[in-house]
Symmetry: D2
Subunit: 345 residues, 4 copies
């Protein structure tokens, strides 16, 4: 299988770090360039000492991001940038024929109006929204294979969409009244020097934030609406918990009358029974972030409450792997024709 | 003010430890005896080295629990025992004229049927259920003052009842569709040697448990039903998070049509505006367990979601203080005629 | 007992927070002013929500630091400032007759040369070095009582000096070859927004730093030299560990020939046997930071290694209490004629 | 390259878990059997849910350990058992022609007297001590290649021996006065239900233990003595810190007179410059466990203190990888003729 040359723009954050790790060890990808405005000139090992002993890391040094240069070197370029600046790089890279896999929220929405509502400014490249594919392989596998611009989903959205979309598509749960209560590790806040994310502010602390209108709601609701065939509006409460990595989401869903346990079980098995990165838990097992951290797996378990008639679905994922960089690599595997699990197991 | 002599049966667990700490420093209580089956014979300092430098700790040594002896020594006896064994001590202590403050679930329910449904055996002293008062001072202050048997609420129930009862009583939220999503520190599991609660099993881990029918549901629903004047059934999902102490609860409530933000605000201010141990957060502030750990305070904040029309109420407390031992001392203060905040600020 | 009015300059860091907590609850002190450049104008509760329910906190608002104004309001002023700026406030406050208790390193050294060597600039007020007393009450109790300028010791120094000084004074250990290996919680780094102290950079991490010449060495060696009556130079290695609070120090000492276990035991008992804030551990017990965090106690245990003939002494303290703010309050108690343990037990 | 069939006896602890992970992903090993007395009958995924999605895990189920059966199935057998029971399995496995790699301390010592002194009973199979090789590949690479019984080193010993042996062999440091101060994550205590290792007992806690005569001293001193050519006795203090994985060791060494920084640097470069699993840090970098956890690398940095003339050497490793299972796999690679880094990068 022919290898592809890949580059990462913005590789010095936590998602960038995991992306580097996955690509250094990928059997069919050759990491040719990593960029970082603030670390330009430093070696990979200076910024991330843990990579220093990796045989392939010696040659890697952070450069200033330059779309033209990167386009000449790489077949696939990952953008691991803060929201709002991806378009600047995506346009020239796409024009130069690169595959672009963006980990920001910039190309995840189809609607420019929703974008403006949630991000408070006009979208900088509205044409690209039509070309981009939402990079959730379990749902958009075929589209991803054919796309040149992949908008890799956010960490919270992945933990909510994977458990919910099959049930909505099958008409087993109501599209109304959905509640998602999510708990995220601190790496989700990024690697930025802010007092709120200091060790002593997060350790021995648990707190909700961004209540009630978190930005990720926009892509969650757009995708759920597509699955349900009707406009879906959900309740979403993120919480910060003192772990480095991991998201645990608990979903409260209302059943359509004819739904029973058997139908839910059958639905999940049909949709995810053969998926390498979705683990349906059985018996008494419930999701636990420690069982997915470091892997590209999303664990899912559910319980029908006979008292309330409600369906509770719980999911766990690594916010930096299945919720970010691992999923992006999964999309790269699809678009490049590699085995979908290459470099991810 | 005349001091009272107090004793603790079962003082070697985490709640017992906090109870000892509060009572050693209480201005009107004299801790005369502590018992523990497994630590009988050891000094307080041997079991809890942190108390060794406390001037009042020198004389304290764990004894075998013996209700008759304790009844002679103490005016008030706290029971910090596992569920199911409190009756054995409560009966003789009450007969001997002691005030009994029980931290277990044994006397919290009014209905023997509900008890049997949730605890899977008959209640060992059903007569006492009629005499006991549910020890939530903000709700049952007057009853506590006159009671000899106080059933101190559980940690999860406190974090759910304090924010919800005023709204239900005022008819501002519907008694249906209530969801409580709770996150608890590991001390909630007690000080018992089980693999599930080892450091390496809890650290860097987040997990739900006891879904969907946790035992605490019984007292939560009984109390909510009393507040609403109708049978209330809620959805409750506890999660284990890697902190020592603290519970964060996020509640999802449906509004009665006429309810608006002003009414919610007015209701909370009226009920809790002067409460020393309920803190209504203002402005952008949201609850954070680190702001309540080590105190007897329950923080409450709420948001009306204009998109969904739902009310989200969030609370934070120290599961071992307001959720257990601090609240028990608050009840002692009431029943003994001490200032309610004595030893708690 | 007549209360004293106290103020804190620089009250928005971690030491300041603990100082506020101790003074709010002190039976003989009235906290009349708190200052903070960056939080001026905000209430105490806005910066530290956990104090919001304290009855005495309502009136407290951070002001711009102004020595003249403070001198009119307060009898005792604590300086909880970064190193290097204390002199600016100490001079006018002392001139106005206030007692000044400085938590920085600015007045801890007697030698201006050593100061310059370790801090790389001339001391801004060399005259004050002669007037200041090193605020380690167990060693300088009498001097503290008579001083107007108290230089409260650093956290690492306290954990090293308390176990070592008695042995050096008694001539039981050699003044050469002393090694101190210390482990500190992250609050020791202060409440500043730096990537190195983010949760994800400290959690699941242990690392040495400042090897081999940490600034605290200067005051440690000056004090040890005074105790030994000869110049002492030690080896000191600090490490950062993922806890909020606590310092654990392991000391390696070489015995003078005639020293045996009995003499060491007798020495410690004589010096610390009646000290309220030094706990000599007995039997198999070893220090553990969890037993001292939140208290003003320093735990000490020692072992004579029959194989190597070396003495290992271990100490544990709360870096923010006995290592900073608690010790400063202990000095205030002494200088004001309050009971030494007032507000600290 | 021909694959080898491998089995693990005692695979349900923390070392066993990492061993399973490494062998499932090893390019030349086929994991054919895993045993566990207490989990016999359960699938791998039931005991370790995180392996459930691994394609090779489906067939694996814990069996009762049975040396005869295992000898028929496997070419290489890892023993990940508590100390004292390895001999029972090693003898029949070796007789049947298997390679045995033991992770316990049972075959690490050459002297039966030292064994008895430290383990308080006679060695159960003294003949095997002569045949076994101490499995530290960087030191005993050639011997490991030819051995059938490899005694894989302990976690503390590895972190001490790797930095110290080259200096002793080269005669750059004195064989006397060596001090090793080590900090270990809680997984080092194993996966056993004891109150001391509960989350709430370890979190927000740091403590020394096993002072002054830890069992690991025996193998450390035996190996150091071999390197120095004279009997070496060291001071060793282990501490427990609240991380899951990782050991940080700080060593205090006395220099031989002629030694200077250049010679130390040259010595380390010569011995470890080409080692894939030893990382010599340069510039200002110091070891940090977070940079080695999950890898088979041991980081080493050193500082010459011009003030004291002492050499401080610091090392960091993952106690479960380089300190246990990774190192054992490294030995397997050597003895089986695989590339030494196979399955470890």
């Amino acid at each position: 299988m022919k290898s592809k040359k890949v580059a990462i723009i913005g590789a010095s954050g936590y998602s960038g770090e995991v992306l580097v790790q996955l690509l250094l060890n990928h059997p069919h990808a050759e990491l040719v360039d990593i960029t970082s405005r603030q670390n330009a000139g430093q070696t990979l090992a200076q910024v991330f000492p843990k990579f220093a002993s990796h045989p392939k890391s010696k040659a890697l040094r952070f450069s200033e991001p330059n779309a033209e240069l990167l386009a000449k070197q790489a077949d696939v370029v990952f953008l691991a940038l803060p929201h709002g600046v991806a378009a600047e790089y995506a346009v020239p890279l796409l024009n130069a024929g690169c595959v672009v896999i963006d980990l920001s929220a910039d190309f995840r929405l189809k609607s420019v109006d929703v974008y403006k509502d949630f991000y408070a400014h006009d979208h900088p490249a509205p044409d690209l929204l039509k070309k981009s594919v939402y990079g959730l392989p379990e749902i958009y596998r075929d589209e991803i294979k054919k796309s040149l611009l992949i908008a890799s989903p956010g960490c919270y959205p992945t933990s909510i969409l994977l458990p919910t979309i099959p049930l909505l598509k099958a008409g087993l749960v109501k599209p109304t009244g959905i509640i998602a209560d999510s708990l995220s590790g601190v790496s989700g806040a990024g690697r930025k020097a802010e007092v709120d994310y200091l060790f002593c502010e997060c350790n021995e602390s648990v707190r909700p934030y961004g209540v009630p209108k978190h930005r990720h709601l926009s892509e969650i609701e757009e995708q759920l609406s597509l699955a349900a065939g009707t406009k879906v509006m959900i309740q979403f409460t993120p919480h910060l918990i003192p772990v480095n990595r991991g998201i645990l989401t608990t979903l409260y869903l209302e059943l359509v009358k004819s739904t029973d346990a058997e139908k839910i079980s059958a639905c999940y098995k049909k949709v995810y029974g053969s998926e390498p990165f979705v683990r349906l838990l059985e018996g008494k097992a419930l999701p636990d972030t420690k069982n997915v951290v470091g892997t590209n797996v999303c664990e899912i378990a559910w319980r029908l409450d006979p008292r309330t008639g409600r369906l509770i679905v719980m999911s766990a994922e690594d916010n930096l792997v299945k919720g970010a960089s691992g999923q992006a690599v999964q999309s790269m595997n699809l678009v490049c024709g590699f085995p979908e699990t290459a470099g991810l197991i």
